[in-house]
């Protein structure tokens, strides 16, 4: 995977993680309002419990004369437990189970306590009614009473009243005994009286006294059970568990926040990296395109130059042919005309001279055509090498002799040969090379000057050096020296096709050789050609 794809992958993963975390936080994260409301409810369970205890104690002591606060506390506790079972979303499933169990336990103990409270209310009302009775009893039997039937019983009624008050205050067995004794004494004394109303009053007093004896321990027992109910412990446990879960959820939320910020930072950094890399990539691409454009420009220019050269060559060819073909053709034409008109009259010597002229002109045309063909073949890559065993010395000597004969000894040709004369070379190509070089040497040097032609057959290659004392080649012409139909300025007045050196170059190349020259304007030119010997052919030669 490329660096760029890795970067994209990391970026995508980071964005997905960011979205995932955020979604999680939104749906399962801690919502402040929810958290505050819930924890408030959890704490309210304890507050209500304490408050219920207080209300029960106040009811028992007579400081609170109605049960509305108790009813409210019990109902509110039950409502809150119901509301608590809707656990906030930030509490995880595991914690939720534990929390629900604690809520269940707290609700159960609260319900148990509520049942005791209910019983307390019922019993306490009866107890309070009975306690209410005794001040009225004492008042009725008091000193101010006008009923004679009551007077003997007044002391006993007082005794019962004080015993009851003592019992209510202490609740111990001695006080209980006193109430029982006072009650029995009063009842016994009342039997002696005739007044029915008095008997009924005494009966009521003893009845209340017995209710008091029975209910006070019962009510006090209920109060103790209410106060010792495990509700506060359960509520505290619930509170602790919830605080634990809350703290856990909050620390998770903090951790998530850190992750979020980390991811956000990562995304920003990776994003910046991506932008920088993209800019770099763009710059590289621009550079490459600029290079390509330049190369295209160059190749286009080259193409253009080649086109220009081809076009120039074509016009040179046309110029050359129009001139170089017409000259021999004119010569042939005029000689043939003269022979036709005066052939009978002329002596044989003169006739022969014209025949020779025709032959020379046709040979010149033939050579020219051959040169054109060779150049054509070389351009088409069809210049094949066909080496044959030759005697190099003989070959070169014959060449020199033929040349001297043709030029009628206008120039002195100094020929030298060194080395092994038996070589294997392409005779025809060699002829093109040496013929053209020697022709040029003669053509571009003054009559009477010397042309040096030295051949050196070495082991690996043959060296041919042709030197003249001619006009030399101008420096500016050197680059296009071997281009066909191209002629140097100082040679333009001399007849020529501009093919010679092009043919030489093609023939040397075809044989795998090299050509080099040294020239000085007005002093002369020296060409040096090296042609490798054909080893296999040489061996065959040696063997035969």
């Amino acid at each position: 995977m490329s660096g760029r794809r890795v970067l994209h992958f990391v970026l995508l993963a980071a964005v997905l993680a960011l979205l995932g975390l955020s979604a999680f936080s939104v749906f399962f994260g801690v919502r402040p309002d929810e958290q505050v409301q819930y924890s408030d409810k959890v704490r309210r369970v304890q507050a209500l419990d304490t408050w219920l205890n207080e209300a029960v104690l106040r009811s028992r002591s007579g400081l609170l004369l109605n049960y509305d606060p108790l009813v409210f506390a019990v109902r509110e506790t039950s409502n809150i437990h119901r509301a608590l079972s809707k656990v906030p979303s930030f509490v995880a499933a595991e914690g939720k189970q534990a929390l629900l169990e604690q809520i269940e336990a707290s609700a159960a103990s609260a319900q148990e306590k509520a049942a005791f409270v209910e019983e307390f209310k019922t019993e306490n009302s009866v107890l309070r009614t009975s306690l209410h009775y005794f001040p009225m009893l004492i008042a009725r039997f008091g000193e101010g009473s006008s009923e004679p039937a009551l007077r003997p019983l007044a002391g006993l009624a007082h005794a019962l009243g004080s015993a009851v008050m003592l019992f209510e205050a202490t609740g111990d067995s001695e006080a209980r005994r006193r109430v029982e004794v006072a009650s029995r004494t009063l009842e016994a004394a009342s039997r002696g009286t005739e007044a029915r109303a008095v008997r009924s009053d005494i009966e009521l007093a003893t009845r209340h006294a017995s209710i008091l004896l029975e209910r006070k321990p019962k009510v006090d027992g209920l109060v103790r059970r209410i106060l010792s109910a495990p509700t506060s412990v359960r509520a505290r446990k619930l509170d602790l568990l919830y605080r634990e879960l809350e703290a856990g959820a909050l620390s998770e939320a903090v951790l998530r926040r850190e992750w979020l910020l980390g991811l956000l930072l990562g995304i920003v950094i990776f994003g910046l990296m991506e932008i920088i890399l993209a800019m770099r990539r763009t710059a590289r691409v621009r550079e490459r395109l600029a290079g390509e454009l330049e190369r295209a420009h160059t190749s286009l220019a080259k193409e253009h130059e080649r086109e220009r050269q081809t076009s120039a060559a074509r016009s040179r060819f046309l110029a050359m042919t129009s001139h170089e073909i017409r000259t021999p053709l004119t010569a042939i034409g005029s000689s043939a005309e003269l022979l036709e008109s005066f052939g009978q009259k002329w002596d044989s010597e003169r006739r022969l001279d014209h025949v020779r002229r025709i032959r020379e002109a046709s040979r010149s045309m033939e050579r020219m055509l051959e040169d054109v063909l060779i150049i054509g073949r070389a351009d088409a890559g069809g210049l094949s090498l066909a080496p044959t065993p030759i005697s190099l010395n003989t070959f070169c000597q014959e060449l020199v002799e033929a040349l001297m004969q043709r030029t009628q000894n206008t120039h002195a040709i100094q020929f030298s040969f060194q080395g092994d004369t038996s070589v294997s070379l392409d005779e025809r190509l060699l002829l093109h090379v040496l013929g053209n070089l020697l022709n040029n040497a003669i053509k571009y040097s003054a009559s009477g000057s010397t042309v040096w032609f030295s051949v050196h057959a070495l082991t690996e290659q043959c060296e041919f050096v042709v030197a003249d004392q001619g006009i030399g080649i101008p420096n500016e012409h050197l680059p296009s020296l071997y281009v066909s139909y191209c002629r140097a300025k100082n040679a333009e007045h001399l007849p020529g096709t501009g093919l010679g050196l092009a043919v030489v170059k093609s023939a040397v190349d075809a044989q795998g050789g090299t050509i080099a020259l040294a020239t000085e304007l007005g002093r002369g030119t020296t060409f040096r050609v090296l042609i490798p010997r054909q080893r296999a052919e040489r061996e065959i030669w040696n063997a035969s």
Binding site: V26, E34, N66, E76, N79
Partner: protein, 339 residues
């Protein structure tokens, strides 16, 4: 870590989130608002009785629909009985006959009690069987001797009655549904409160709101120990007590009827035999006859019976009259109108 720090960091988390993603937060659930402990604690509890608070806020559209349903016979299974057939509008929403006799139903076993201030009763029905209005209504609708229906049947009947569909659609987003029939009835029950009784005005400082006789009646009411049970804002209705403490109420009567068993009917706990919800005495002067069996026709008779069975004493006629005068001052006003 301290709670405050947690809250602060939590807020920061929220802010970071909001900034990071510009995602909105959903509001937390709004719990039913409850009376604050603090305000209740501040109340003066040195008097056994307290003034009835002003009527609680109710959904008026629901309550109005509930009132219609209260009088609507189509709520019952056979479309012959309405709540109002036993809870008479002209009689403090109670029945003036001891036991209710409605055509097509067996005679009831209990006197139909007043519906006023039912919301202040900590339990519903004479025996204190139900802890909520909803639970009571659910059973009442199903009871074959009462409505012999279900909420679904009631809702179905109402569909074919003119006007209900439109009224429900106006009051509830989801229109006429069994749940909404129940909700409307409950809302009506919640609206049935009667504040501003002369006695309440007296408690709140209006000294001449009640007569001197009523004032002395109130003193006797406290002195004889009536307020041991009939206390609180409802003058009763906040506790359970046995009927017949100093004398057996059921001794000389046929106490074997299931309806006489009180809470025992529900709990089967011997301790709860003949234990009833202490009824609220508000509007008591308008809701004769008295007691669960409707056996006492007059207020004076009821006062004397209570003194006899619960307090073990025979009240003089004078005391009885004074107490009756006091009880007469407990008649309140429903929606500002006298009952």
């Amino acid at each position: 870590m301290e709670l405050g720090t947690w809250h602060a960091s939590n807020r920061r988390v929220g802010t970071a989130l909001a900034v990071a993603l510009v995602l909105g937060c959903t509001a937390g659930t709004e719990d039913r608002p409850t009376q604050q402990l603090d305000s209740l604690q501040a109340l003066d509890m040195s008097e056994p009785l307290c003034a009835l608070p002003e009527a609680p806020r109710v959904n008026e559209a629901w309550a109005a629909l509930g009132e219609m349903l209260f009088k609507e016979r189509a709520v019952s299974g056979d479309q012959k009985v309405a709540c109002a057939d036993c809870h008479h509008d002209g009689h403090g929403l109670a029945d003036e006959t001891p036991l209710s006799n409605v055509e097509g139903r067996r005679a009831t076993l209990l006197n139909a009690p007043t519906m006023y201030n039912v919301v202040y009763s900590f339990r519903v029905t004479w025996g204190g069987r139900y802890e909520s209005l909803e639970a009571h209504l659910d059973d009442l609708v199903k009871n074959p001797d009462v409505m012999a229906s279900t909420w679904a049947i009631a809702s179905e009947h109402l569909q074919s009655k003119a006007g209900y569909i439109e009224r429900f659609q106006a009051a509830f987003p989801d229109g006429l549904t069994p749940q909404n029939v129940r909700a409307a009835l409950v809302e009506y029950e919640r609206s049935l409160v009667t504040p501003n009784a002369p006695f309440d005005r007296y408690l709140l400082g209006e000294d001449d709101a009640i007569s001197a006789e009523a004032k002395s009646g109130y003193s006797l009411f406290k002195m004889y120990g009536c307020t041991s049970c009939h206390q609180g804002c409802g003058v009763g209705g906040n506790m359970l007590e046995r009927l017949g403490i100093l004398r057996e109420y059921f001794d000389d009567r046929n106490g074997g009827r299931p309806a006489d068993e009180g809470l025992y009917q529900k709990t089967k706990n011997e301790r709860d035999r003949h234990v009833f919800r202490v009824p609220s005495l508000r509007n008591v002067a308008r809701t004769a006859p008295y007691f669960h069996d409707g056996s006492v026709r007059t207020l004076e008779g009821a006062i004397q019976a209570m003194a006899r069975f619960q307090l073990g004493r025979e009240l003089t006629l004078e005391d009885t009259r004074s107490i009756a005068a006091f009880l007469n001052t407990l008649t309140g006003r429903y929606r500002g109108k006298p009952i």
